[in-house]
């Protein structure tokens, strides 16, 4: 037994009281789905956890109708103060049931319990707490006085942070006065269904939040539904693109959080110990199942060998295994499908001439696993430097000058996040200025906070989640009564808009409103 070997320290599953099967959560009740139910399994053992209802189009109709009723009759009429109180209740209930949610999340998703316990679930509570306080302060959201909710929001979320993505979607939507139909990912529906029980405990009015489980076709039916006013999607760029096409020409507004291929730039004067930890956290956090993962390491050429050597040493101390074990650093890959994709892209990297190194570690017999892997000698044109792998695989590239680092970092259709490591403050700010990415971490990586806007440039999508900007994504400015005469009155017309409409792209016009939707999406306090 070396110093690296620890006795097992599994978190107890006794805290869970799971049902054998879960229905859809529609209009405040669990109901049977009309599609063929499917099972959700633990990716670390492939054992069955529960049967999950599958929503077909009729079920989506019911859910959207319930959300519409709740919007018309209850939620849009409720005071902001009371909406906020419900959200505060939810935040507290999440805190009370935090351990149970963490265990369920690690069981269903495969992520280490230390992450679900210390990152995911605390952030879920924080998200509800943050947006709870906004509910009665919407006049200050940056859209002028008396902004309006949008109506029914269709929200489709991924499997990498199942409950956290739910919180990112539901909290701002409800604070702004919208009602919700949310579809969790097919492989990770469990915590959303426990969350539905929390909503019952909170006595949230029926229909304000509806949760429909199913696969991609369920999500597509939801997004396409005529009764939906807003689409919020987190997932792949391919699906985001399809959604953008599908809703073109409709009045639906959209927020899309899509893929990324973040550069993590390490200069030779970086605090190297912290940088190594930051690189590891950047790409191996949550098995690399992170859209903003620092999957392209750009390291200054003169410290390349040292950094790679130290990375290998550090990675060799990571413990891969049972997600419920408190000592586990690397959990299971979420699904066989994802594992196959990681393998295929890694093999492509080898074929394209990159050098593969994987941590020599024991891989459990059952379940889906992939040892932390580093590719060196990677060309910028290689698939592993261009495509999102969404797994624990790091591609290492080099640069000589800051200009080269910036050019390589920006050489991607994505633009979600980036990292900068250097001790020189002025260089951090200058490089941050030139990186085309929505979130930039300097001397840190993968930090999230409900007050901090998150979202991408370019093909990483549009819209922001988190902060005031994330709230604006669920609001439109109050209609302004303005005559054409006032418009041509020039500055006075303009002046009115500043007062009434201010930062919102939606606000740009009153009558024939410039649907700043996509545009607005990515914007500032603006449209979203």
């Amino acid at each position: 037994m070396s110093f690296l070997d620890y006795a097992p320290a599994p978190e107890s599953r006794a805290i869970l009281s799971l049902r054998d099967s879960y229905g859809l959560f529609i209009d405040g009740e669990f109901v049977d789905g009309r599609g063929t139910p499917f099972q959700t399994i633990s990716p670390s053992s492939e054992e069955r956890i529960a049967m999950i209802a599958n929503a077909n189009e009729a079920d989506i109709d019911d859910a959207v109708a319930a959300a519409r009723r709740a919007y018309d009759r209850v939620w849009s009429k409720m005071s902001g103060r009371d909406r906020g109180k419900y959200l505060f209740r939810i935040a507290r209930l999440v805190q009370e049931r935090a351990r149970e949610l963490a265990v369920a999340e690690s069981l269903d998703n495969g992520k280490p319990i230390k992450e679900s316990r210390d990152v995911d679930v605390p952030l879920v509570a924080a998200w509800f707490f943050y947006y709870a306080g906004w509910a009665d302060k919407l006049d200050h959201a940056g859209l002028g006085a008396d902004p309006r909710s949008l109506g029914v929001a269709a929200q489709v979320i991924p499997w990498n942070f199942p409950l956290l993505m739910l919180a990112w979607k539901i909290a701002p939507a409800l604070a702004a006065g919208n009602t919700v139909v949310l579809k969790p990912a097919e492989t990770t529906p469990l915590t959303a269904l426990i969350f539905a029980e929390i909503l019952q405990q909170a006595d949230l009015p029926a229909g304000v939040v509806n949760i429909v489980t199913g696969a991609g076709d369920t999500g597509a039916a939801l997004v396409a539904h005529e009764g939906v006013d807003k689409v919020a999607f987190t997932g792949s760029t391919a699906v985001g693109r399809a959604i953008a096409k599908q809703i073109a020409g409709t009045d639906k507004r959209a927020t899309l959080e899509l893929g990324g291929k973040a550069a993590n730039i390490v200069f030779d004067d970086a605090p190297i110990d912290q940088a190594i930890e930051g690189i590891v956290n950047g790409i191996f956090f949550n098995q690399g199942h992170v859209c903003c993962a620092g999957s392209r390491l750009l390291v200054q050429e003169n410290i390349h060998d040292e950094v790679v050597e130290r990375l290998k040493t550090r990675l060799s101390t990571l413990r891969l295994g049972d997600p419920l074990d408190k000592n586990t650093d690397i959990g299971a890959i979420n699904s066989r499908e994802q594992l196959d994709r990681i393998r295929a892209l890694s093999d492509a990297g080898v074929e394209e001439g990159a050098e593969r190194w994987s941590v020599p570690c024991e891989i459990p017999e059952n379940g889906f696993w992939y040892a932390p892997t580093i590719f060196t000698n990677v060309q910028t044109s290689s698939r592993i430097a261009r495509e999102e792998i969404f797994g624990p695989v790091l591609s290492v590239l080099t640069f000589r000058t800051p200009q080269e680092a910036i050019a390589k970092a920006n050489n991607t259709p994505y633009g979600l996040s980036a990292g900068i490591w250097t001790d020189k403050g002025s260089r951090i700010l200058a490089v941050a200025d030139q990186l085309r990415a929505g979130v930039i971490w300097a001397n840190t990586f993968n930090r999230f906070d409900p007050s901090s806007p998150f979202g991408g440039y370019k093909e990483s999508g549009y819209g922001r989640e988190g902060g005031r900007h994330g709230l604006a994504a669920y609001l439109s400015p109050a209609p302004i009564g303005r005559s054409a005469a006032q418009v041509t009155a020039g500055r006075s017309g303009a002046q009115r808009r500043i007062e009434g409409a201010d930062a919102s792209a939606e606000a740009s016009a009153s009558k024939p409103k410039p649907r700043a939707r996509r545009a607005g999406a990515a914007k500032k306090g603006a449209a979203k």
């Binding site: 259709p413 792209a505 607005g520």
Partner: protein, 286 residues
């Protein structure tokens, strides 16, 4: 004895130069009473692509200029336009068939909108951005940055004020623009390009195409190096198809607007072509 006038050849404006369409095509622009006025250049797909290349090349310099500087350049446009009020009023009177007073009012409004937007250049970031009180030892700030290259289909029923109203806000944050002028009233747009060329606007920051929006817009909507498209003047086109084309590269899209209210001054028209960047930095005494 009356003097024989010297008519102007109206060409495109790409990368700071005034080329004819590479296609060699022109189309007739006529006055409100049907009189021949000019042969305007009919831009092709290749012209549009050249314009995008010019615009992309200009982004770094324009976005990298200080906000104070951009504000001054935009204000300079107003100054130079003011000095040519009579020329523009006469041009508008002729093509739109309105009275001199109405034409002059349109020019004045256009000038005033340049002034209004010029003033926003060093202010909108303070309104659209903010510090974020994150729960940890981090400095965290969100700021709006230009989206990059913006394609604009200018309002089609106005010669100058619509064009300016769509163009000016896209420039404020530091974007470069490829703008397709009104098909029927393209002359003021090219005359305005002469103003831009003499107002310290760096070459390539604004590129003006005249011709058929229906022909050019699909190339711009699908161009992978265009970051956003403003369809404000595309109401008469199949704009839903343009929006679908734009989705392929996840462009930001502003929708058509109609009537005299189209593209009216608004902070939202500036922020529509920006991206929120959030920067985190650790705080430590060590």
């Amino acid at each position: 004895m009356s003097r024989l006038a010297v008519p102007k050849t109206y060409k495109l404006y790409i990368g700071g130069a005034f080329p004819r369409s590479e296609s060699g095509r022109t189309y007739e622009v006529v006055a409100a009473d049907g009189r021949f006025l000019a042969n305007a250049a009919k831009a092709s797909r290749k012209d549009a692509r050249d314009a995008v290349v010019a615009a992309r090349g200009a982004v770094a310099g324009w976005a990298g200029a200080t906000a104070y500087n951009r504000g001054q350049v935009l204000y300079r446009i107003a100054e130079v336009l003011e000095g040519r009020r009579a020329q523009f009023a006469a041009e508008i009177e002729e093509v739109e068939g309105v009275s001199r007073a109405v034409a002059a009012a349109q020019v004045d409004e256009a000038i005033d909108r340049w002034v209004w937007y010029a003033g926003w250049a060093d202010k909108f970031a303070q309104v659209a951005g903010n510090a974020n009180p994150v729960a940890g030892p981090y400095f965290n700030i969100s700021v709006p940055e230009p989206s990059g290259v913006i394609a604009v289909i200018a309002p089609q029923d106005s010669s100058l004020v619509g064009f300016v109203s769509a163009l000016a806000p896209a420039l404020v944050a530091g974007n470069s623009v490829v703008i397709v002028a009104s098909e029927r009233f393209p002359l003021s747009s090219i005359s305005l390009a002469e103003v831009l060329a003499t107002s310290d606007v760096p070459k390539g920051v604004v590129n003006v195409l005249t011709g058929s929006p229906a022909e050019i817009a699909p190339w711009l909507a699908s161009h992978a190096d265009v970051n956003a498209i403003d369809l404000v003047g595309a109401g008469g086109l199949d704009w839903v198809s343009l929006e679908i084309d734009a989705a392929d590269t996840l462009k930001r899209v502003l929708r058509p607007e109609n009537g005299p209210d189209a593209a009216a001054p608004a902070l939202g028209r500036i922020t529509a072509f920006t991206e929120t960047k959030t920067v985190w930095h650790t705080k430590s005494l060590r």
